[in-house]
Amino acid sequence: MASFTERMAFVLVMALCLSGALAVDRGNFKTCDQSAFCKRQRALKPGESPYRALLETMELTNTRLTLQLINDNNKVRLLLELYRLQGNITRVKINELKPLKPRFEVPDVLVREPPTEPLSLLSQDENGVVLSLGAESQRVIVSARPFRLDIMEGRDVLMSLNSRGLLAFEHLRMRKDTSQADSEAEKKEEVDPANPAEQTTKDEDDKDEDGMWEETFKSHTDGKPNGPSAISLDFSLPGVEHVYGIPEHAETLRLKTTDNGDPYRLYNLDVFQYELFNPMALYGAVPVMLAHNSQRTTGIFWLNAAETWVDISSNTAGKTVFGKMLDYVQGSSETPQTDVRWISESGIIDVFIMLGPTPKDVFSQYASLTGTQSFPPLSSLAYHQCRWNYNDQEDVKLVDAGFDEHDIPYDFIWLDIEHTDGKRYFTWDPHKFATPKEMLQGIMDKKRKMVAIVDPHIKVDSNYKIHNEIRSRGFYIKNKDGGDYEGWCWPGSAGYPDFTCADMRSWWASMFAYDQYGGSMENLYTWNDMNEPSVFNGPEVTMHKDAMHGAWEHRDVHNLYGFYVQMATAEGLIQRSGGVERPFVLTRAFFAGSQRYGAVWTGDNAAEWDHLKISIPMCLSLGLVGISFCGADVGGFFKSPSSELLVRWYQTGAYQPFFRAHAHLDTPRREPWLFGPENTALIREAVRQRYTLLPYWYLQFYQAHCTGQPVMRPLWVEYPQDPATFAIDDEFLIGTDLLVHPVTEEGARGVTAYLPGKNEVWFDVNTFQKHNGAQNLYIPVTMSSIPVFQRGGSIIPRKLRVRRSSTCMEHDPYTLFVALNPQRTAEGELYIDDGHTFNYEKKEFIHRKLFFANNILSSINLAPDAKFSTQSWIERVIILGASKPSKVTLQTADGQESQLEFEFDSSMSVLTLRKPGMNAGEDWKVMLQ
């Protein structure tokens, strides 16, 4: 006995120690079991679908098919709508045929009502219907009993819906237990008199379960006046072993199966000190999943803004490589398959099936629905210096001067919540920031900019103009009793403006006008934090689900809140300049479509090596679902990094889209020069590399803005047929031409990078050493190493004259890095505009193709109808993998020819053309002879 208790005691102590070490307090956040609808839905057994398609109700018009489904258990009818959308997308909508009251459908996320293409009937019998989806012999088969959809191409099933019979649709119903008596009268009024009588009778079949009409988590009770309203649907993906996306989770790039734990959760939450590698919800949610194998990439976009859980299972999960080989040798007939199941608390089923077939197609398809990445001001792609908090104007001045003193460039300095007057946003602390315009002017004199935080919780204070206006206009979210909802956040008691309301948003936008936002100037931009929304004393640190946004419950719109906050803020920044200037707004919470409004960061991470590592898959996952402008706090927000970790984080961050250092209030200062001259030099070099590459970054964002392709890409996106790339998430591509494998291990002596592409070559950007593709390459590293490779076959423009801010470099000349492939060709692009206005929409830009073939490098105008002039010229051309020419001739636009001087390094086969001097915006040719 004694020994048993001793052991128990030991286990207990261990458990306590472990839970002490884990950062997040998991108990503050729900598991699926603690979320009544998730528990209910997850308990459904596959293969028992009660749904049957009533084929006789089918109506097929040119643009859509409608069909009723009936639940044979309770006789509730659903309406299925099926659309063929332009660009190889199929949309499936399922709603109640006659809901007791309307169910929420997500507005404002789609950029427009998606244009349709005709559907046609191929065949029909009593078991089902076959429709043609138009292109590429694609068909959709509607099976009647049980209801099921199969999307086919030729003989292959691409995707099946309800194949496991987990379609569930909790219809709205009247509460029938006795406790409803007091609200009976109210309820009766709500009943649609036109509702068929059967509605009430069929309810008899549904048993009330716990949590259907009320649910308590910790001390919070969620009264659910509308009762159960969850929806669920399963998708089968034959031939698929790799699925990605559904951010935001602190998780590997490739999603894991969820059979042995909780599903991935999508519910925007302010998670204090989040834990890595688990499916818990974080600050943002994009309900988009990509499925990939070497033949095809597809995507599922589940347009629902309520709390959502996603289960993933696979018939090959857990099988070892050996097991799979055994299957293969024994001719096991089972093809790999991934099954996915989405569960949401309310709303309707509205799902877009993006059929690829290539990754690029899926990105275009998704972009056609929710839009592309906003085109950021060039300066916002440079380096950002943030801290909670820069204490006062003097502090800002000293930090600014510190960058000059140590010759480190930066473009933005940030102010966190302490800059305000008592956490009243749009105001300044009267003592610490008494003359904000003076401060902003000082920054502007150096061609630099500032970001100040504006959070969506508004201090309840009758002396605060913003609060008074929101209250008097009735713009606050209401609690379930109709009063203004109040929660606890940074300012203490706070109200939350209803950003789902368009009038509220336009009022909010108007608050950014220079005459409204005192102390603001054109070089002041905005940061929206805490917009999940974060409510310190709310359930799961967020808003009560029964709070009201007009007619809708917070339950219906929760994941949209942050999206709308950023939308309204970005609109404010556009409006204040009369529609001229591009905005820059950083947000923590996000949803599908948030890419249209600015940048996103991965929230409150920590100064730990694993947090550095996970910044890569977290941003890759966001890029896959449209949000390219992603970054993690360089250095880590919580805790204090060692100088080694800080240097490595700068080196990694310099090659990620949003590059901002940030630190918690309680951590020691960590401006780049505080870690000794050696580390200062290492950080300076990393930041300078970022600045030299700004022309390339800017081009990537222009392209992302035009096409929806991600900027930071997983390798498999560019090498979709190479399974070796499918799970890689410790290295990544920027665009197509730069491969980065940052050093993210403490004390690393080397890294092993996978260089993809069977017939490709890659050039080390530091040594110009050439390496063959399709190999794992061991690279010895020192503290100064950032392993980066340029793809053979590419041309990358850089600006090598790094100055104190990107704006200071505007007119500087370019150096072109031409990396030849084995066929001795290369191509790239150069994009130039004013860097900050919307004038590019009026065709004021330069967009050129740089092309090397047959020993001729030429610059070709890709946009002959666009006009813009630049002072920048080409100061140098470096050709990697070249042979020595005897003569180099430059031919300019006017036909003039001149000889260029050059230098050839035969050991590395590098040819450097000295000062060709042509204007970067003009036609020219350089001929090697």
């Binding site: 460039p409 061609k447 606890w488 100055r803």
Partner: protein, 513 residues
């Protein structure tokens, strides 16, 4: 820090790409000291030896040399090359922006005037401060002399006091001897009386216990009757066996009242009464459980609770609670004591009074001696303290200087402590106590460090760095908290003023601008 610099980019050579001006004296940006390397018309070898290039490639807006030495016009000794033609006016003479289109104003004259003005002021301050410093040094010297004199005086008086203490000690001890005897007598009489009472009580208790144990009331306490009292188990790790009980009873099966006596004397310390056992244990626990928090926000430590010093207050409350508890238990103990000792008889009392008087006199003199000793050690400490090379900081000793900001009153008591007190009520927070001089090696007396102040939540103890600058007055100029809980104070004092160079020897280069 001024944004503008005197750049001295000599504008003798104006080059545009390809074109070459005639009268070359020296290329833009080449300092005279390096002119020998840039010989007109001759090939130029990069200063790092990396290349040799024709002379016309100097300042042609292209870096041929790895060290950039072929582009001296782009790499000023005064500002980094990255600031030339970047559209930001760095040089007051606009020479850094000769090709950027930036509309820079030549502000050198104004700047020069301002600089001269501030230089003049600084010189004035330095001069005046330096004079004051001489006074301080003199004062310090006098102070040291005074202190040494005083020290000697005190040391003499200490000697006298020591003698007096010894004399009074003898008086005291002589008076205390008869006092002690008389008191002991009195006490012993009282103890004897108490022992009788206690024995009676013990007998009564024994009888009571006997009855309590003798469950079957047969006039004997048996082995089985004992077993329910496991507290008597001599070997508490296992159960209380009959054999053990029997051993306790002295090897017999049962005891009558007489036999019980010796048994009782061995077990009475351990024995727990059946009656009191149940009632006494319970109670105090409950109160200590903390009330459940109303919200889920415990995870947001401190920061989300706006502006209060919660922790400190709570600690104080805890202390109070402990005090109350402590007092309560004390009282309980007193209650249990058997009666009160009777007062001393007159004779004893007068002996006590005499002894007390002797004690009082002795204590008083001894206290004076202690004070004198403290004074001596303080003086010695002060005399040997590092108040700077010439004692110029001595005047700061035992002074305090305040700075009032919008929220706080900061107080610097040099060589002692730094603190912060909210302006509108609230308790004072220590920002550190004197640590050490912490300036750079060649000027160690320019920075003071105060350490081990009040701890920060989840952070280090507060500490303060005080930077000293020359001023005619002794003032705390500013405070800041650049990092959480690491404070920085700027403090002016004449004690750090250095003699400014004589006006003639000052470099005059700026003046012409």
């Amino acid at each position: 820090m001024s944004g503008h610099h005197y750049c001295h980019l000599v504008l003798l050579l104006v080059l545009s790409t390809g074109a070459f001006a005639v009268e070359v004296h020296r290329p833009r940006g080449v300092p005279l000291s390096k002119l020998q390397f840039y010989e007109e018309g001759k090939p130029f070898t990069c200063l790092d030896g990396s290349h040799t290039i024709p002379f016309d490639r100097i300042n042609d807006d292209y870096c041929d040399c790895q060290d950039g030495s072929d582009e001296p016009g782009f790499r000023s000794v005064f500002i980094p090359s990255s600031r030339i033609n970047d559209g930001v006016c760095d040089c007051c003479d606009t020479t850094d922006e000769y090709n950027s289109g930036a509309a820079c104003q030549n502000t050198c004259k104004e700047l020069g005037r301002q600089e001269q003005e501030s230089l003049r002021k600084l010189t004035e301050i330095a001069n005046e401060g330096f004079l004051l410093k001489q006074q301080l040094i003199q004062e310090a010297k006098r102070g040291i002399e005074d202190k040494k004199t005083k020290l000697e005086e005190i040391q003499t008086s200490k000697k006298a006091l020591e003698d007096k203490v010894e004399a009074l000690r003898t008086v005291k001890e002589t008076a205390e001897e008869p006092e002690k005897e008389a008191k002991d007598r009195h006490l012993k009489a009282w103890e004897d009386q108490k022992a009788v009472i206690r024995m009676e009580k013990d007998m009564a208790k024994m009888a009571e216990v006997f009855l309590e144990l003798d469950d079957d009331a047969d006039g004997f306490v048996s082995v089985s009757e004992l077993l329910s009292h496991s507290e008597l188990d001599p070997n508490s790790e296992d159960s209380f066996t009959e054999a053990e009980a029997q051993t306790l009873l002295g090897g017999v099966d049962k005891l009558d009242t007489e036999g019980f006596k010796s048994f009782w004397s061995t077990v009475k310390e351990k024995y727990k009464s059946e009656v009191t056992a149940d009632t006494s244990v319970e109670s105090p626990q409950e109160e200590t459980t903390e009330p459940a928090s109303e919200h889920d926000s415990e995870q947001y430590p401190e920061d989300d609770v706006p502006e209060d010093e919660g922790e400190d207050d709570e600690e104080e409350e805890d202390d109070d609670a402990d005090d109350v508890h402590y007092k309560a238990t004390q009282e309980q103990k007193d209650d249990e004591d058997e009666g009160v000792m009777p007062p001393y008889d007159d004779k004893t009392q007068s002996l006590i009074d005499a002894a007390q008087k002797a004690r009082d006199e002795f204590n008083e003199v001894e206290r004076s001696l202690r004070e004198v000793s403290d004074q001596i050690s303080n003086l010695e400490k002060e005399i040997s303290f590092d108040f700077g090379p010439s004692g110029e900081f001595a005047y700061l000793y035992s002074q305090c200087y305040d700075l009032t900001t919008s929220e706080y009153i900061y107080r610097l008591c040099p060589f002692n402590r730094v603190s912060q007190k909210p302006k509108f009520g609230g308790s004072e927070t220590s920002l550190g106590t004197w640590g050490k001089w912490a300036g750079p090696e060649d000027d160690v007396h320019s920075v003071m460090k105060y350490e081990h102040g009040q701890g920060c939540w989840q952070g280090p103890n507060r500490s303060t760095t005080v930077k000293l600058t020359c001023g005619t007055e002794t003032v705390v100029m500013s405070t800041s908290e650049p990092s959480r809980c690491e404070y920085l104070m700027e403090f002016t004092t004449p004690a750090v003023c250095k003699q400014p160079p004589a006006p003639e020897s000052r470099p005059r280069e700026h003046v012409e601008l």
